[in-house]
């Protein structure tokens, strides 16, 4: 990617976020409430916010060291980004799963003990299960996910002669629908619907889990649905006939309590 392209892609991202912020009215005194600024301001658990001028805030976004890969190859990461975006696409409400860093979240989760199923029961034989008995496959989540990504590309090439990430959105939806219905060969006895279900679950988690896990970038997943994140009390709000929108607050705000 050239320098110009990089700049353009950053601008694109910002403009889609701006559109969202404009739509949702998430500004205070004309200053756009970016996540880092927002969480600092809200640390005192107040729902009203005061702010001071932060020069050049919008122009110099701080690099997020959490945005790096501990599991995927760059190509696997890009396929994941494309897939999560179709599960939870950008729309008039705001950014999609891609911009929310759901693929970073998934990378980190698959690298974690959970990706290796360490708290699952894995003893004994793996028989074919009835519908109501839950999955009985031995494959680990991390391996299931990688097999799923391979299969997404293989199936995309069979159907449309291109890798998944190169397809049109409608074609990608077609591919994912086939996966969700278990119609695609994945790996051994593993059903494509099992991969799809994992992808779907991880995408929703990546959109809505606390930002410390790497997704829900700048808490925009929460803002979109007016979810305030982690706050200590809602005694007044739950009694109010009107909806009270509170700025989201992450677990980081509980540090030092």
């Amino acid at each position: 990617m050239s320098e110009q392209e990089k700049k353009d892609s950053v601008l694109d991202k910002r403009s889609s976020r701006r559109t969202f912020i404009k739509n949702s009215g998430l500004t205070v005194g004309g200053v756009v409430l970016g996540g880092a600024l927002g969480s600092l301001l809200i640390k005192d658990d107040q729902s009203t916010i005061t702010t001071t001028e932060t020069p050049n805030h919008a122009a110099t976004p701080t690099a997020n060291p959490n945005v790096a890969l501990m599991f995927f190859t760059p190509n696997q990461y890009q396929v994941t980004q494309a897939a999560v975006e179709r599960i939870f696409p950008e729309d008039a409400n705001g950014p999609g799963a891609k911009e929310l860093n759901a693929a970073i979240y998934i990378d980190h989760q698959l690298a974690s003990p959970w990706g290796s199923n360490v708290k699952d029961y894995r003893l004994g034989a793996f028989y074919k299960a009835e519908e109501n008995q839950g999955a009985q496959t031995k494959i680990l989540r991390k391996d299931l996910f990688l097999a799923g990504l391979d299969s997404l590309n293989r199936y995309s090439n069979e159907q449309f002669e291109a890798d998944f990430k190169e397809l049109e959105a409608t074609q990608q939806d077609e591919v994912l629908l086939a996966f969700s219905e278990g119609k695609v060969e994945l790996y051994g006895k593993v059903s494509s619907s099992q991969f799809f279900s994992l992808l779907r679950t991880l995408t929703i988690e990546g959109v809505y889990a606390d930002p410390m896990y790497g997704g829900n970038n700048e808490m925009l997943g929460w803002s979109m649905r007016k979810y305030p994140g982690s706050r200590m009390q809602y005694v007044a709000e739950i009694q109010d006939e009107k909806f009270i929108e509170l700025k989201p607050q992450s677990l980081n705000s509980h540090m030092g309590h």
Partner: protein, 574 residues
């Protein structure tokens, strides 16, 4: 190698509500107790980062590690049971506080009808009202009036917030604290239900409505409606939890020796009694034998039955002959028949709530309505709740909406704060072939057989769910909403999809040693120094969350254990 420890008066297996209550009562009476808990110790400081939906709800931070032990499941006696390899339906607590740390706090008494269900059903409708497959339906061996003082004690200890409700058994005292707040959606339910002639009440809660000091001198703060109850611990201690009530009281006596990371593998036996228990330190793998005069089995429903079966104590239940008791009358909870309301231009503050925040009617519970013309017995609570909707777990969309993609995103966001349920919580009655036994093939990490569950919803459940759906629909229509989706059919049970974790039975109480494992002090008929506490003692599950009754029975058992230590023998004449 097993290290044999000196004998103690009482060893308690599991430090949740049942184990905590017994430990507090016995130690206050001067009796030394060793408490064995397979998980870790916890205090409110453990929950400083407690509002972490992913960690606690979706990665089951407070639950047992299934890599070490799980259950196997099949829906019929002829099927092959397979292990529940990851969490779905049931969430099984771990650590000090047990399920009493991660529960929602809904704290009911059972109805007078429940305790005498067989007698009262036959009296009103005749024996033919009880189908052959429900032959295990039985009276509990004591009446509501006999249970009442124990309920009263439990409610005062936990500081239950609630209001006195007609259509229930008589109370000697009002709830120790007033009911929780009424939110706008609860008021909608209240208005509609009242105009239809019902008498709605606020659900009794262990989430304190105000600061409260209990008879043991434990002071706790009021609930802040932060919406992190179910699957979570309460950082305020506002939710009644053994770890902030009975266990500190027991510790303070100096008579409780709490050993955490201590997982009991089996009871040792000697003729008609238990000698003690064998347990393993889960951190080091060292094994110990702890002899005791009395063994109190107070782990979860599943493990209570499993421990007895793995120890050869009590006669295993046989679903073909109906003989034997251990594993009998496994029951669950029936929650079909609900209606979901969606609003185009109304928003509620659904991010706030509490685990027991809700409003309900009693008119369709138990035998509060005439069952002569319906093909089921018992009933359900009809209610609207506001637990607080967390965004990973709760994405309610109108029926027919896909569960991913553009439409899913749009609708799930549109309705995120614009929906609420009118739902049911129904009784689950015993079926001859719904039971627990040992799996013939699958083992835990120590080589002991896993517990096998054989369970399917019954005709009673399906008929009741359908009937209740017409009531929830009627109330929902009276409230008025842009979209109302009503679930009319009870789908087959699915061990990874059903969303209720109220398990009961397997080691049931009763008046007759032929048909029950325990007497009404929860003392085993077949092993007089073994007391088995928990919802495992319920002969059936009523239309309520089980903890209130579990707590009351634990106080009764604590009384029985003290009596047994003095006098010995079986405490109730069969």
């Amino acid at each position: 190698m097993v290290t044999k420890l000196p004998k103690v008066p009482v060893v308690v297996v599991g430090m949740g509500w049942a184990g905590g209550i017994v430990s507090a009562e016995l130690t206050k009476a001067g009796i030394s107790v060793v408490g064995l808990e397979r998980g870790k110790d916890r205090t409110t400081a453990d929950y400083t980062m407690g509002h972490d939906e992913l960690r606690y709800q979706h990665r089951q931070e407070l639950m047992q590690d299934l890599s070490k032990e799980t259950i196997t499941y099949r829906n019929t006696v002829s099927g092959k049971a397979l292990p529940m390899r990851h969490y779905g339906t049931f969430i099984v607590g771990d650590g000090v506080g047990g399920a009493g740390s991660h529960w929602n706090g809904q704290t009911y008494r059972f109805l007078p009808y429940d305790f005498e269900i067989r007698t009262k059903t036959i009296e009103r409708y005749g024996i033919e009202k009880i189908p052959a497959w429900m032959e295990g339906l039985n009276d509990w061996g004591l009446t509501y009036d006999e249970m009442e003082p124990y309920y009263d004690t439990f409610e005062k200890m936990a500081g239950i917030s609630g209001e006195t409700v007609e259509l229930w058994g008589k109370r000697t005292n009002p709830y120790p604290t007033p009911p929780l707040l009424k939110t706008p959606l609860m008021k909608e339910f209240e208005k509609a239900a009242t105009s239809l002639g019902y008498k709605p009440f606020v659900i009794p809660a262990a989430n304190l409505s105000e600061a409260y000091t209990n008879p043991d001198g434990i002071s706790r703060a009021a609930c802040q409606y932060c919406a992190y109850c179910e699957n979570f611990g309460c950082e305020y201690g506002a939710k009644g939890d053994p770890a902030v009530t009975v266990i500190p009281v027991a510790k303070q006596t100096g008579k409780l020796e709490l050993r955490t990371h201590s997982n009991v593998l089996e009871l040792t036996k000697d003729g008609g009694k238990a000698n003690g228990v064998i347990y393993v330190d889960m951190l080091t793998g060292e094994k110990f034998e702890q002899p005791a005069d009395v063994v109190v089995v107070a782990s979860y429903v599943f493990n209570n039955a499993r421990l007895l079966l793995n120890s050869g104590i009590g006669t295993p239940y046989d679903p073909i002959t109906g003989k034997g008791t251990i594993g009998k009358n496994y029951c669950y909870q029936v929650t079909s028949g609900g209606s979901q309301l969606f609003f185009e231009d109304r928003e509620f503050n659904l991010y706030g709530g509490a685990g027991a925040l809700g409003i309900e009617i009693a008119e369709y519970m138990g035998d509060n309505f005439d069952h002569a013309e319906v093909d089921f017995i018992h009933g359900a609570g009809i209610r609207s709740t506001q637990y607080g909707d967390r965004p990973i777990a709760v994405n309610r969309v109108p029926a027919g909406t896909p569960n991913w993609g553009a439409e899913f995103k749009e609708k799930s966001i549109k309705y995120a704060n614009s929906n609420f349920p009118v739902k049911t919580q129904g009784a689950s009655l015993p079926h001859k072939e719904n039971y627990l036994d040992l799996d013939p093939e699958f083992k835990d990490e120590f080589g002991y057989p896993l517990l096998r569950m054989t369970y399917e919803y019954t005709d009673n459940d399906r008929a009741m769910g359908k009937y209740m759906s017409s009531i929830t629909r009627k109330i929902a229509e009276e409230i008025g909403a842009d979209i109302i989706d009503t679930n009319e059919e009870q789908a087959p049970f699915n061990v990874n999809k059903d969303s209720n974790t109220h398990n009961t039975g397997g080691v049931i109480m009763g008046a007759d040693p032929e048909t029950s494992a325990l007497n009404t002090y929860l003392q085993m008929w077949e092993a007089e120094n073994v007391f088995v506490l928990g919802a495992s003692a319920f002969p059936h599950n009523s239309c309520f969350n089980p903890t209130g009754t579990l707590g009351a029975l634990s106080y009764r058992a604590a009384e029985g254990i003290q009596k047994y230590l003095k006098e010995g023998g079986i405490l109730v004449k069969a």
